[in-house]
Symmetry: C2
């Protein structure tokens, strides 16, 4: 298949590009390199030393018979170029990672709030318009987030995959309907993914686009089979207060003998998935597109749920790290249950990598190995939800 | 009160500004004059001859003790200026009309699709961020649309005011919830209003903004008490295939002895409100803000529903116009029932102007009076939903 990976230089996009390339697909990466630019802006870095996208690709193309190609383009800002590229390349599928994906960054200040909304909405909408305009039968696979559901907000546990059966209570009686699960985003970033859902709803209905939306949990882990093939292929590992998701932050803190920083009491339950499973899920999603005319196909891309305190203790057991409780910078429930229905991917053959199996490799091969690259001043949260 | 009217040069914004000014409020109009620019772009015009915003305001300020002020600004593009203006002016309320509001225009081509989404989302979101940033306790009154509900899609008739009671069917049994009515927009324009709703949901929850969202029907009528005071205060009247809503198009067609053009069989039922009632509704909404910390307050801003065929016949009875059936350029149900709950405004004192009472004035005082200004080539629909 010919596949375009939007945001193919990022944490999920890069290993996905390699995985699909390895499987024999023809890959075109489009990226505006914004993640690297934001590192410069925030004074942060990837714990793992990553090389330029051009060098990464050059190395890969010496190892793999099918070369990956790359074009720098800002799909949110340059609609015309995007449309032209799609029409010329004629992809069978497009995987869309090209959104600002940090919740803390999206809450940092007026510039990052407006940037997150403008960038993410324009990127997704430009893409939908360009696919429609191309008249090609392209399958769009989008990275959503578990955060669209809110955490346990409706009380519906397990959280279903995208849609929920309800009875509407009307003056004339009850009516059964299956509706999109009500949205309850917890940050401006999560908000943008709920906006994406409504855009998908319109373009599947009006233009019969084929769209898969993957509501992903928090991704952990760094390397995949493919990124391990050469040290210049290594994946990025974010640990700072904005882009470092909770598990990576804990790992890095353990490595430098810093206490694991828990926001609040750590009784928040979150959903997780290993990067190895992420790339496999995307492969499965591409192989199983919805039919033309069907509504958005939604998967929960999650393999397990954990309370943050239990996660910290898991790492503590392996590293003897201390735990430090910080005031929670986020507005969120102090405590929540979370059970997630992930039947669809399991039935299609996903084989979960659990935290219990995979954590030690992260500790020794990544966090402790690159601990000397940590910039200490970026560890603490610098964004507040009510600033 | 000090009130900012965003989009105060437009069809609803202008009479609202005058009405609230007449009531003694201090009014600042912000507008980028995009509606006039789009007239130039499309080669269309207002049937009524409208003067410049500067002249309109000059005339008004000779008639009314409280002067209206105006500043040209594009709130979607210039966040910094918007924030500064809000902080300096310190309004009690902001009325937000500043969105591209034509469904056909929003479906015309790739430029108008992306413009509509980018402009409307950025305008609303910039505003939410700027109000949050100002730390002022400002009541935001937003013009939404009945189109967010879809027409009879859920089968919930009457359509409730924004929220709907449901029972979620979960593995553990049924859970009662009141949720935002599921969105089912019929055009890119309507889509943007469903995106607005989700943004309001987030900013009421996270930042306790006070927001009222008015789900308006199709506005008909031209003049209000205030716009009649001087001919240079006259309101705009759009009749072209893109911006002319169905009733105004029929009126103009009758005036020039053109058949009334019905899309499909005319069995679509739509909700209507007279411009006189619109300005009154906004006054009522301003007087009845939600409390800080409450969810978005939603009103259905509608006074009656009519099938399009019945509307045509109403005008036919008064003018002897013929009726012409055209292929429907829109993707929509050929036929729908529509009953709308508008209890909230009625209970707060709204006194509806019905089509039966008000139609003749529109026929004689507007359509026939200015018939010589019609540009014939703009009558037919020029946007298709599946182009």
């Amino acid at each position: 298949m010919k596949i375009i990976i939007l945001g193919g230089d990022g944490f999920c996009g890069w290993p996905t590009s390699l995985h699909l390339s390895k499987r024999g697909h023809e890959i075109l990466i489009l990226d505006n390199l914004s993640r690297r630019k934001i590192d410069d802006e925030l004074g942060t870095n990837s714990l793992t030393p990553i090389v330029s996208i051009q060098e990464r690709i050059k190395v890969w193309n010496t190892l793999n018979p099918k070369p990956i190609t790359f074009k720098k383009i800002d799909i949110a800002q340059d609609y015309q170029a995007l449309e032209a590229l799609i029409k010329n390349y004629k992809p069978d599928a497009i995987v869309h990672f090209a959104e600002q994906r940090s919740a803390p960054y999206s809450m940092k200040n007026t510039v990052t709030k407006t940037y997150t909304v403008n960038n993410n909405v324009q990127a997704t909408h430009n893409l939908l318009v360009a696919i429609t305009q191309s008249k090609l039968d392209i399958h769009l696979v989008h990275l959503g987030t578990m955060g669209v559901y809110g955490y346990g907000w409706t009380g519906a546990n397990p959280i279903p995959e995208g849609y929920v059966n309800v009875e509407l209570i009307t003056r004339k009686g009850k009516l059964k309907k299956e509706i999109l699960h009500p949205a309850n985003p917890g940050s401006v970033y999560h908000l943008t993914k709920t906006l994406d859902q409504l855009m998908f709803g319109f373009y599947t209905k009006n233009d019969q686009l084929r769209i898969t939306d993957l509501h992903q949990g928090i991704v952990w882990g760094t390397q995949t089979k493919e990124t391990k093939l050469d040290k210049r292929l290594i994946n990025r590992f974010d640990y700072d207060g904005d882009y470092g998701t909770v598990l990576n932050r804990f790992l890095m803190q353990a490595a430098i003998k810093h206490p694991l920083t828990i926001y609040g009491k750590g009784l928040q339950t979150r959903a997780f998935i290993h990067i190895n499973n992420t790339v496999k899920c995307i492969e499965i999603a591409i192989q199983n597109p919805p039919k033309r005319g069907e509504r958005t196909s939604i998967f929960n891309q999650v393999t397990e749920t954990q309370r943050l305190i239990d996660l910290a203790k898991m790492i503590q057991k392996r590293t003897n790290a201390k735990i430090q409780y910080l005031e929670n910078p986020r507005r969120e429930d102090a405590q929540n249950d979370l059970v997630v229905d992930n039947t669809r991917f399991l039935e299609l053959g996903l084989n979960p990598t659990t935290l219990n199996e995979g954590l030690m490799e992260e500790v020794s091969e990544i966090a402790f190995k690159y601990a000397d690259r940590v910039q200490l001043d970026t560890i603490y949260p610098s964004s507040k939800w009510n600033n």
